[in-house]
């Protein structure tokens, strides 16, 4: 396959960025999208140019490091992570636009790499449980009803990639935060911090400069792990409940 790539190039956080056009040839349809970018970078290095910086780690679709907006879609046209997107989703001769996540809370560091530490601070605000650590407890010590376990697991699938923020026209982190809140709030292990968790995480989310939810549903469409939009409804419910219960 021969492709034309239009890639966002930006030297550093303070520099002005722009789209640059590159041609790549001999791309196999079995390559992953990141392998295609590796091919481009090898050529750039051989030509003595600066390779395109992009985030990646496990390349198995489970770490949440990769983060590209491909032709206007977070993680590209398939419902998966960029690393699990294959070039068979494109045609020979295609022009592909590659941009970084766009949100005020996710500033660009270089090229396609953005700073997602705002997510870490939301987790620090309440995305944990105060449990004694050490060896794993006996699995049946704390009974969890099956529907609750399923719900928690569905939300635990969130890998924190930030596609929801990238897709949201308001740069909101509602889907990410709600995945964490629902995951922990539904479980008995998360019960002691049920109220403070949702209040603190939502407050941190606001403080990081993420936008609010206008229920466009773009986040849930973009989510590679299929976190549903109703997750946000669940967090709203938890938040309202906590506001009534906790005197601040």
């Amino acid at each position: 396959m021969k492709l034309t790539l239009r890639v966002w190039r930006q030297k550093n956080a303070d520099a002005e960025g722009a789209m640059s056009t590159y041609e790549v040839d001999n791309i196999s349809s079995d390559m992953s999208f990141l392998e295609m970018l590796d091919t481009l970078n090898e050529e750039l290095i051989l030509r003595g140019e600066d390779p395109v910086a992009f985030d990646h780690d496990c390349r198995e679709g489970i770490c949440g490091a990769c983060s590209l907006v491909i032709n206007g879609d977070a993680h590209g046209p398939e419902r998966t992570t960029t690393c699990q997107l294959h070039m068979r989703s494109f045609k020979d001769g295609d022009t592909i636009d590659i941009e970084p996540w766009r949100a005020a809370a996710f500033p660009v560091i270089k090229d396609l790499v953005v700073d997602r530490s705002a997510f870490d601070r939301i987790i620090q605000a309440g995305g944990y449980i105060t449990a004694p650590t050490g060896s794993a407890p006996e699995a049946h010590a704390t009974p969890v009803p099956k529907p609750d376990a399923d719900l928690a697991f569905e939300h635990a699938e969130c890998i924190g990639c930030g596609a929801c923020v990238a897709a949201c026209p308001n740069g909101a982190a509602m889907l990410f935060t709600s995945a964490k809140v629902n995951h922990l709030n539904v479980l008995p292990q998360g019960a002691p911090e049920r109220e403070t968790r949702v209040l603190d995480m939502v407050a941190q989310m606001d403080e990081e400069g993420f936008g609010g939810c206008t229920l466009t549903g773009e986040c849930a469409t973009a989510c590679p792990k299929g976190i549903p939009l109703v997750s946000i409804t669940g967090m709203n419910k938890e938040w309202l409940r906590a506001t009534r219960k906790v005197k601040r």
Binding site: M19, R102, A104, C168, G211, M235, N236, R248
Partner: protein, 223 residues
């Protein structure tokens, strides 16, 4: 608690949901009341007079009406201020646009902000036209709403402004009602289709109900 709600984006959205639902329930009653125009001048004018005497003798003349007006003004202001502040936050949170643009979300969803502005302007015109009579075409007569309505919808601009606003309100409710349910935590997977259906039915019924009056005047059914 009030502070927590107002300072949070989730809380402010709750204010929008509650104030929106208050206005929506008013609109349902307003639309039903409007339809009395098809029963003739006496019944419609009599209905308008009754609105001022609700609650008597406990309430004084027009007290109930003013109570409703106050609640509505508070709802409009709360809705508008939180919409403005939330929109400012949203726009700030996404300063740079994508180069590769794609059509996003439904038309009703994308037009919530402009639709809201159109509706706010319409409310001002609507009150000046048919409540105070300040900008009314022809001689505005206090206590003769039937004639006033016919006058308004006998002008091309009266019809245009009204029809645009009614279509805007229909769109606004279509996304707004369902959104309010999500914001208040009332939505769920099982209920989602039902909520969307209720939103669509509400939007359609209100649009048609409100449009019936200008169409009635234009076709000569009401004159």
């Amino acid at each position: 608690m009030a502070r927590t709600v107002w300072d949070s984006s989730v809380g402010k959205k709750t204010v929008m949901a509650v104030s929106g639902l208050i206005m929506l329930s008013y609109l349902v009653v307003h639309m039903l009341g409007n339809l009395k125009i098809f029963f003739g001048s006496d019944e419609f004018n009599g209905y308008a007079h009754w609105l001022r005497t609700i609650g008597e003798p406990f309430m004084h003349y027009e007290w109930t009406l003013w109570l409703v007006r106050i609640v509505l003004v508070v709802a409009v202001i709360a809705h508008g201020v939180s919409a403005y502040q939330l929109s400012r936050r949203d726009i700030k949170a996404r300063p740079s646009k994508y180069v590769h643009k794609k059509p996003r979300a439904s038309y009703a969803t994308r037009t919530m902000r402009w639709g809201g502005i159109i509706l706010a302007l319409f409310i001002v015109w609507h009150i000046l036209d048919l409540t105070t009579g300040t900008v009314h075409s022809g001689g505005f007569q206090e206590g003769r709403p039937y004639q006033n309505v016919v006058d308004t919808f006998s002008t091309w601009y009266g019809n245009t402004i009204y029809i645009v606003a009614v279509l805007a309100v229909g769109m606004h409710i279509r996304h707004g009602f369902w959104s309010a349910a999500q914001t208040l935590g009332a939505g769920s997977r099982a209920r989602d289709r039902a909520l969307k259906a209720v939103a669509n039915v509400l939007a359609l019924v209100l649009t048609c109900g409100f449009l019936a009056v200008p169409v009635g005047v234009m076709t000569g059914v009401v004159s």
